[in-house]
């Protein structure tokens, strides 16, 4: 049993304290995101929001969902779907001239 727990710990590579740290960072980024509603970010507004969104997304996937530490097949299955979705739907919106409005 003890070896077993040691093993699983290794596999997931993070302690509870680590998770809490991640959560604090996520909360901070969320705070920053919401602040764009009150403070004018000018031209940076859209890129900043999108970058923060991506960072949060990747952090949850990598740490909370362990993708960073797990077998690469999981990453393949998930990111294949994600990349395909982004690519296909971006092209789809592009045919509606969504990005040059």
């Amino acid at each position: 049993m003890t070896t077993n727990t040691a093993e699983t710990k290794q596999e997931h590579g993070m302690s509870d304290a680590g998770y809490i740290r991640i959560a604090i960072i996520l909360a901070a980024i969320t705070g920053l995101e919401v602040s764009t509603y009150y403070v004018d970010f000018g031209v940076l507004f859209l890129p900043a929001l999108l970058i923060m969104m991506v960072i949060k997304f990747v952090m949850v996937v990598s740490y909370f969902m362990h993708l960073k530490f797990d077998n690469k097949i999981f990453s393949f299955l998930f990111y294949a779907g994600l990349v395909l979705a982004v690519g296909v739907y971006a092209a789809f919106l592009a045919t509606f001239k969504f990005f040059i409005q």
């Binding site: 097949i73 299955l77 294949a80 779907g81 395909l84 979705a85 690519g87 296909v88 092209a91 789809f92 045919t95 509606f96 001239k97």
Partner: protein, 661 residues
């Protein structure tokens, strides 16, 4: 720990299977209808998929014959305009979603585990659920015929014609919700087979030693995994509009009808590869076996299959060239479409070179495979003419398109399926299909097919529109290219084609009546599914094979002669089989039958039925689904030993391999 060889007990024994809710005893019958309805065995499910698909093939075929009867002569009176619309819509829907896709699922279910040396799929209960969801979805789709008329908007159901204003009957509701259910079946099936292939290959079977059929099926499952959710979205939007007053395709409210077209074809183009790749996989097995040569350029066939699967996502708008996409989009999608012809061409070259210099053996399976190469190429060539957007603008919505897709679907997908029938029949049923009837089957189908769909090229180029319910003498024209003559030829052809298909059904009956058993390895085959008995035992293999080569079975039978550098037979299939039986695994854990897959699947059409008629019914369906889901979650996949009466230690029955014939 259920064991395998469970002969029906001569003395009724007291059985106390575990139960889930304290009242429902786990089904353990190995004979009778229960052994089919509650089965989780991938082989039984494969047969059930294929048999159901065959039934729908006949339904779709009868619909096609009615269409051709109507068009055989001017002013057809067989169908009125309304029924005609329902007929071609349901014909296509049935052929695509209820025949070719589930037939491929049947082949995949049966042969993928055998080809990778596994004893079952990764999720056996999910597998059973998939079959039942497909069956119930298919029935649900066809219920509309009896409840006010079937869907009539064509198989791609363009908006806004599919909206409540232009399609007031419940047909489109049944269509959208029914496809939603079969979509769930496809999705669960895809997840199941992907994980099976990733995770359950026999030791030594690397991805590049995997049989080519399994490879093509894997590509298809990835396409399904990512394409099904797209049509799921489209169908939800449609249902929400029709049933809950959403506005997605309501042009008056400012909606863009192209939204539907995009979503449908983002799914739809991968879908055409979902239809054709399984058959490509089948002929890639058949051609080497009957050419007595390994598949030429195996890695190229694998990678071109994967490339098709990938590029197939970037071409969807070639179905929309005439919809006002704008010049940039048209140019881009025109180019990607031409590009995708390349990997397809690679495959055709590889098949041809496989036969080149081989000792060809013209069995029926081989004839169908060669038929596929030839006829698919015809369809592929007319396909390239659509890739050229200006030319397509002339062809779109004419019979030229109908000709094209029947050459690729019938000449491609369906001939491949028939090739698979003849090739694998002895594996599945232990008997050989009659070759003489097979020959009639093949030639009548090929002649009928070309007579039916060949003239449609002419009809189309002469301007006969697709989905036209009647034509008149006055507009038929004169001379060699007059519509009247070629329409009649096509209609006669469709009946010859039907007789060809009938030959197959006759062959099945004749074969079933014939007591003669098939030899163990009738074709001198190459891949693992042949390295076991005909039909395979419930646990597939007495010992899980260890794989060293692509075409492992062949390499167990043949070794290279050092002196002459030719392949020399060193062992027979019977010897390999006998050796496996001697070393049979003692205790094999197989998943146990379950009630929950069929119950869960049954809840789905009840929910959708309620969405159309009364939400109260939906609640009932929802309760059934929840009830079954809990039952499912609470029972373990493999029932404990005590569930089976025959598992008395010391009787010898607990030892697989000790007691089979």
């Amino acid at each position: 720990m259920a064991i395998i060889e469970r002969p029906a007990p001569t003395v009724p024994a007291i059985v106390t299977p575990t139960s889930t809710y304290g009242l429902l005893k786990r089904p353990v019958s190995t004979t009778g209808w229960r052994s089919w309805v509650f089965t989780v065995d991938h082989k039984k499910l494969g047969i059930m998929y294929a048999a159901t698909a065959m039934f729908f093939f006949i339904v779709g075929g009868v619909e096609a014959l009615l269409i051709r009867l109507q068009l055989a002569a001017p002013n057809g009176k067989v169908l009125n305009a309304d029924l005609y619309n329902q007929m071609f819509t349901m014909h296509a829907t049935t052929m695509v979603f209820l025949f070719v896709m589930p037939m491929a699922a049947g082949f995949a279910n049966y042969f993928v585990p055998l080809q990778i040396g596994a004893r079952d799929v990764a999720f056996p209960r999910l597998n059973a659920f998939g079959f039942w969801a497909f069956l119930f979805g298919g029935i649900f789709l066809n219920l509309a015929w009896f409840l006010g008329g079937a869907a009539d908007g064509g198989w791609f159901m363009y908006a806004p014609n599919s909206g409540p204003v232009f399609s007031p009957s419940h047909g489109v509701d049944f269509w959208a919700l029914g496809l939603q259910i079969t979509g769930i079946a496809s999705l669960t099936g895809a997840i199941n087979l992907i994980i099976t292939v990733l995770n359950m290959r026999a030791p030594g079977m690397t991805l590049m030693k995997m049989p080519i059929f399994t490879w093509m099926i894997t590509v298809v499952q990835f396409l399904l995994l990512f394409a099904v959710p797209v049509i799921t979205v489209a169908l939800f939007l449609l249902s929400f509009q029709r049933n809950f007053g959403a506005q997605f395709f309501d042009v008056a409210a400012g909606a863009d009808p192209l939204l539907w077209q995009h979503l449908f074809w983002i799914f739809g183009h991968p879908e055409v590869y979902i239809l054709i790749l399984p058959s490509f996989g089948i002929v890639s097995e058949v051609l080497p076996v009957f050419s007595r040569k390994p598949l030429f350029g195996y890695p190229f066939v694998v990678f071109s299959g994967a490339a098709i699967g990938f590029v197939g996502w970037g071409v969807w708008a070639h179905h929309m060239f005439a919809s006002g996409l704008g010049p940039v989009s048209v140019a881009v999608f025109s180019l990607t479409t031409m590009a995708i012809a390349v990997p397809t061409g690679v495959k055709i070259i590889n098949w041809t070179l496989t036969m080149w210099g081989g000792k060809l053996w013209f069995t029926t399976a081989m004839k169908f495979a060669i038929g596929l190469i030839v006829l698919f190429t015809v369809g592929g060539l007319s396909g390239v003419t659509h890739a050229v957007a200006p030319s397509d603008t002339q062809q779109t919505d004419t019979y030229y398109i109908v000709a094209h897709f029947h050459y690729v679907l019938f000449g491609g997908a369906v001939l491949g399926i028939f090739s698979g029938f003849y090739y694998w029949w002895p594996k599945v049923f232990g008997k050989m299909l009659n070759e003489k009837i097979g020959s009639w089957n093949f030639w009548l189908m090929v002649i009928g097919l070309n007579m039916t769909f060949g003239p449609m090229h002419i009809l189309g180029l002469q301007g006969q529109p697709r989905r036209m319910y009647q034509w008149t003498e006055a507009r038929a024209g004169e001379g060699f290219f007059n519509l009247a003559f070629w329409n009649l030829v096509a209609s006669i052809g469709s009946f010859i084609l039907s007789v060809g298909i009938l030959m197959f059904l006759i062959n099945v009956v004749v074969t079933a009546r014939n007591p003669k058993k098939a030899p163990l390895d009738p074709w001198n085959a190459r891949s693992l599914e042949w390295m076991t008995s005909n039909p395979p035992k419930e646990h597939n293999f007495d010992v899980i094979p260890t794989v060293h080569h692509l075409d492992e079975f062949f390499h167990q039978k043949f070794e290279e002669d050092e002196a002459t550098h030719t392949m020399k037979q060193v062992r027979t299939a019977e010897e390999i089989m006998a050796e496996q039986e001697r070393n049979a695994d003692k205790h094999i854990h197989m998943p146990s039958p379950s009630y929950w897959p069929i119950v869960l699947a049954f809840g789905l059409p009840i929910i959708t039925f309620g969405l159309i008629y009364s939400h109260l019914i939906s609640v009932v369906g929802g309760v059934i689904v929840l009830f079954a889901a809990y039952g499912w979650a609470l029972e373990s996949s493999t029932a404990p030993d005590s569930d089976f009466e025959t598992n008395t230690p010391g009787t010898g029955l607990d030892k697989v391999g000790a007691n089979h014939d």
